[in-house]
């Protein structure tokens, strides 16, 4: 369909109106608060950089930032370490296309259910008398139940589960587009399985790994429900700080925390996209 300039404007108008009124303006109002000051339980409507200065000189802020980044790095690494072999096995060891499709749908299925439900599932599994502890005890591996709830362990396990589909799918889809003749050529020339994997398959699937890292890391960084429900107040990450500050009507500090969170996400997106562009595209 040929579209004139005027028609382009008309077609863009509804979406742009929504985006400006409901996205640009709310975010603007939010970040304006970072230039306000919170004092004696109320927000003082002056323009100041005091909140930034206070936030970035407080060691507590760096503790939270580091905790957020550390947690996100751990769960991203775990999701990729589990997700890569699962994607590889699904691609190479399931012959029938129908069986592959059903397994892929099963691996994707948790995303159809609310994150609150999935977090609740781990809450039941990780309880001191839950399935994980009773299985370990029955196997004779432990005598006392491990405390897996209300600390960072439970949050790490549950977040890894939540992110796993996002690690599996980019890798699985890159594997599907892989040029099999390269693999066969390597094998014909006498390369063993490990050589072929390490020198052909792994480098060629790196775009999938990087894409998975990007999705997992940014989702982990902004995770809210899981650290809140399974962390028991002991896992303090940036989204929880933004929430707490907002509840305490300390919008200025909340805005600075939120801006920090946003900048960390954007830095990760930028760095990983730059890396992605350097990799050979499949």
């Amino acid at each position: 369909m040929k579209i004139t300039r005027a028609a382009v404007l008309a077609l863009l108008a509804p979406a742009m109106a929504l985006m400006i009124i409901l996205y640009v303006i709310p975010l603007g109002l939010y970040f304006i608060n970072s230039f306000r000051l919170f004092k004696d339980g109320r927000i003082i409507p002056i323009w100041t950089l005091q909140t930034y200065a206070d936030y970035f000189t407080d060691p507590f802020s760096y503790k939270i930032i580091w905790e957020s980044v550390r947690l996100s790095l751990i769960v991203t690494a775990l999701a990729l370490l589990i997700g890569y072999p699962v994607a590889y096995a699904l691609h190479t060891r399931v012959r029938s296309a129908g069986a592959r499709a059903v397994l892929a749908l099963l691996l994707f299925s948790p995303l159809l259910v609310s994150v609150v439900v999935r977090t609740y599932g781990w809450f039941i599994l990780l309880a001191s008398q839950g399935l994980v502890n009773s299985t370990l005890r029955a196997a004779g591996l432990i005598t006392e139940p491990l405390s897996l709830l209300f600390n960072s362990r439970g949050v790490v396990i549950s977040l890894t589960h939540i992110l796993l589909p996002f690690a599996i799918f980019p890798i699985y889809s890159v594997l599907g587009r892989l040029d099999l003749s390269l693999k066969e050529a390597a094998q014909d020339l006498g390369a063993g399985w490990w050589d072929t994997f390490q020198r052909i398959t792994l480098p060629l699937t790196m775009p999938g790994v990087v894409a998975g890292t990007l999705i997992c890391f940014t989702l982990a960084l902004s995770a809210f429900v899981t650290p809140r429900l399974l962390g028991g107040g002991r896992v303090q990450v940036l989204p929880l700080m933004v929430y707490n500050n907002t509840v305490e009507i300390n919008w200025p500090t909340g805005a600075v925390s939120g801006l920090t969170l946003l900048l960390l996400s954007m830095a990760a997106v930028w760095a990983l996209n730059a890396l992605l562009r350097k990799l050979p595209s499949v």
Binding site: A7, V8, R93, V113, G130
Partner: protein, 284 residues
């Protein structure tokens, strides 16, 4: 001599076959464990919903349906479910209409700054939801729109719009422009071309992006938590707040029903879309 070399070759082949069998077993086990890990929390929630006791013990000492009874006696969850469905349907419809027009402009239009505009339209995906949530809280308080489902619906439109634009734009790119041009040459106006030529070709994209938008809207917690005030709680927020206070299997019973709801939703879409490429896209 030759028999010795042959024997050596046979031995290597046997070794390789053994290694391949071991790898095969290992990778199949990995896949089974991966699927098991993914499904475990959902399966356990369903099993736990039939527990006879209120405290967290597994396996439960007995079976009962009492938590389903308790769930049905709580009007708050029923109301929240209805609100969540209404919000998800409304937000999806609004985002589909504005998103389709926008995707058409992005794919068929030629104008400067298109890539920048596309980046802007997709940027809500990477925006932390809690930041958006506080932004909407301040915005809707400022304009005096509080309570009810309208502010939450409008917020969800922004959350789901980028997914819809992305999927529909990808669908439109693959279309044959000559069909549209032929219709235009024969005198069809733009609305007719859109309705009779473009829409029938992107049905699958509309269904897939609509389904995704519905699910994403239905799952919003931190983006909407400051817009709810009790009387207008959405289902995930009602569950979240209930879980902060109580941990009895009522939530498990509700979760089991939600898992069933999601399964029916997907099965219905697969069934309705039989014979189209929706199935191929979903089961890819």
């Amino acid at each position: 001599m030759s028999t010795l070399v042959q024997r050596q070759e046979i031995r290597i082949e046997v070794q390789e076959a053994r290694a391949e069998a071991a790898r095969n077993a290992l990778l199949r086990t990995t896949l089974a464990l991966g699927v098991g890990f993914i499904l475990l929390p959902l399966v356990i929630v369903i099993a736990y919903s039939f527990s006879s006791v209120a405290y967290g013990i597994f396996p439960p000492p007995g079976l009962s349906l009492r938590w389903y009874g308790h769930l049905l006696s709580l009007a708050s969850f029923r109301g929240a479910f209805g609100r969540s469905v209404s919000i998800a349907l409304l937000a999806t419809a609004l985002a589909l209409i504005s998103g389709l027009l926008c995707a058409l402009a992005l794919v068929r239009g030629r104008f400067p700054g298109k890539e920048l505009l596309r980046g802007f339209l997709l940027s809500p995906i990477v925006m932390p939801k809690i930041v958006l949530g506080v932004g909407w809280f301040i915005f809707f308080a400022r304009v005096g729109m509080q309570g009810g489902i309208i502010p939450i619906t409008l917020a969800h439109v922004i959350v789901v719009l980028p997914f819809i634009i992305n999927i529909l734009a990808a669908n439109l790119v693959g279309l044959d422009v000559s069909l549209e041009e032929a219709a235009q040459d024969l005198g069809a106006g733009a609305p007719t071309v859109l309705w009779r030529i473009v829409l029938p070709q992107i049905w699958s994209g509309l269904i897939i992006s609509g389904l995704l938008a519905f699910i994403v809207s239905f799952d919003q917690v931190e983006s909407s938590i400051f817009l709810t005030r009790g009387e207008n709680n959405t289902l995930p927020i009602e569950m979240f707040l209930y879980m902060e206070k109580w941990q009895d299997p009522t939530i498990a019973a509700l979760s089991a029903l939600l898992i069933l709801f999601a399964a029916i939703l997907v099965a219905a879409v697969l069934l309705v879309a039989r014979g189209t490429d929706v199935r191929r896209m979903l089961l890819r």
